[in-house]
């Protein structure tokens, strides 16, 4: 059985005008401290949306609410036209299938250390999507080629550089043919050379039309590939618009102050 055959997926690709991710009025708090405050965010098919902001500003939490790794307090989330969260409760009928529709790449890679790169990419195909082993191997090899890591397919995570691990993590996230990829600070734990390798793969994905929601501190990269940039501060979306609007001509003082730190961290 191939991946295509095995899937009765979230209903197809969302129409071009219909967001792949629609977040409305989202609120999330931890121990009474509000970390997401009434956030609205729509991600259209094929769009690259980048979330920037200070550490602890709620960026990762917002991302993690999309695939319900964090459960929001209230608001609504739709993924690929399917309601996931509404009001104060999870309305997603099949959480596993939702998560297969939303690939996620973590800051710390989180590859499975007991498996080789190729097995990391195979695992979810076989155990979550019910793909046969030969088809999963075939698909994993092709995905490793896509992230330029075919030569490292049989390496274990601890034998790979950070950049290689993150590219395997991207291949793993792609393995279930997600509708959208979530990137949670994918380069924050990497040296400049590894960062370049990972950003190169992400740019290739964007060129191929992959819908992506990215939390990053790489402002130049965000400027280059984003269709839309969101500035999140204290759990609130302060400003959002095109990359040029938010990054080059911000209207809010908080955004200006934040962006200024990238020019000179000590100012």
């Amino acid at each position: 059985m191939t991946l295509e055959e095995s899937r009765t997926r979230y209903d197809g690709q969302a129409p071009p005008d219909r967001p792949v991710i629609a977040i409305d009025g989202l609120v999330k708090s931890f121990d009474g401290r509000v970390v997401i405050d009434n956030a609205d965010l729509h991600v259209l098919p094929g769009a690259i949306v980048t979330i920037i902001g200070q550490s602890g500003g709620g960026k990762s939490t917002l991302l993690r609410c999309v695939n319900l790794l964090e459960r929001p307090d209230r608001g609504s989330i739709d993924v690929a036209g399917e309601p996931v969260f509404a009001g104060t409760r999870v309305v997603c009928r099949d959480l596993a299938r939702l998560r297969q529709s939303v690939g996620m790449v973590f800051q710390r890679f989180n590859l499975f250390p007991h498996l080789t790169a190729v097995e990391n990419v195979m695992l979810a195909q076989m155990k979550a999507a019910g793909v046969s082993a030969p088809a999963a191997i075939d698909n994993a090899v092709r995905l490793l080629r896509r992230v330029h890591l075919a030569h490292r397919g049989l390496a274990f995570p601890d034998q790979m550089s950070g950049g290689e691990q993150q590219r395997v993590a991207i291949a793993r996230a792609l393995a279930l043919q997600p509708k959208v990829l979530l990137f949670d600070e994918p380069t924050s734990a990497l040296d400049p050379e590894s960062t370049r390798e990972v950003l190169q793969v992400m740019r290739e994905l964007s060129d191929d039309g992959m819908t992506m929601l990215i939390v990053t501190h790489e402002v130049p990269f965000a400027r280059r590939i984003s269709d839309s940039v969101v500035f999140l501060d204290g759990g609130r979306i302060i400003e959002q618009g095109t990359a040029a609007e938010v990054l080059d001509r911000p209207t809010q003082q908080r955004t200006k102050d934040f962006l200024k730190t990238f020019d000179d961290p000590l100012t």
């Binding site: 596993a96 939303v102 499975f112 075939d138 994993a140 279930l176 994905l205 039309g209």
Partner: protein, 265 residues
């Protein structure tokens, strides 16, 4: 050679061991039987206890913690005696099943005692698997069972193997305590030989050699296994085959595939 040594008075043994070979072999097999049964039960029970101790529900967590602390702090011999000599006294209340017999009482005592220690090893190993691993598996849509079976357990096993292996060798040696219930294992056979030959020193030195000959290769084999598992070696034929297929496919030279939106190459 033996005759020559005997003729010159250099043969160190006074016991005619060839007469005891059958009994020694039976004792050896019984020792291995106690170890296999006791360890299998202890490992399974220890894993259940470890999972219970990691539960968020207090009613599940507390009994497991009480059990572990209780049996970690009671000597094995006391458990053996309670099961073998004590339980049958309650026959009139609980029925015939409390008369366990030598093998059942011995193996059960080993299981009860070592499960407490193994649960600690397993708990530490399960807790040692980084939360990010569970999270990554969740994000891939794996079920709770798949997360445990394919992500958490294999990693916990790697962490637990050194402690678990030590316990296995320790249990094999501890079967000698079952001499107190005439369990028919190696030590009991040794006692029988020494009481009939009065060659106490020789008999117990030979027993020591037999135990060493079992335990040393076992611990070395387990060390080898530990190293293999840590190195991520394919221990199953199925995994070996998959990796071989992957190696063959990875070796074929192909241009990098073109990515498709929302899909694989």
């Amino acid at each position: 050679m033996i005759h020559w040594l005997q003729a010159h008075g250099w043969w160190p043994f006074h016991v005619h061991w060839s007469e005891w070979t059958g009994q020694l072999l039976a004792g050896l097999l019984r020792t291995l039987g106690y170890t296999a049964a006791g360890f299998t039960a202890a490992a399974l029970f220890g894993l259940v206890l470890a999972l219970m101790r990691m539960s968020r529900i207090r009613l599940v967590r507390i009994p497991a913690a009480v059990y572990t602390e209780l049996f970690k702090n009671i000597p094995l011999l006391v458990i053996v005696f309670v099961l073998y000599f004590g339980l049958p006294e309650t026959k009139s209340v609980f029925g015939d099943w409390v008369v366990l017999g030598t093998f059942n009482a011995g193996a059960l005592a080993l299981a009860i005692f070592y499960a407490a220690y193994l649960s600690e090893t397993f708990r530490a190993a399960l807790a040692g698997v980084h939360d990010g691993q569970r999270e990554a598996a969740q994000a891939l849509g794996l079920s709770r069972w798949s997360i445990f079976a394919h992500v958490v357990f294999p990693q916990a096993l790697r962490l637990a193997l050194p402690g678990t292996n030590t316990m296995l060798v320790d249990m094999l040696k501890s079967t000698s305590l079952l001499i107190t219930i005439t369990a028919g294992e190696l030590m009991s056979v040794g006692q029988s030989v020494s009481s009939q030959t009065f060659e106490v020193m020789e008999v117990y030195l030979v027993l020591a050699a037999i135990y060493f000959a079992m335990c040393y290769p076992l611990s070395q084999a387990l060390l080898w296994l530990e190293r293999r598992v840590r190195a991520g070696a394919a221990l199953s034929l199925r995994r070996h085959r998959r990796l071989r297929t992957a190696r063959r496919l990875l070796a074929t030279v192909q241009p990098a595939a073109t990515a498709q939106p929302g899909g694989t190459a």
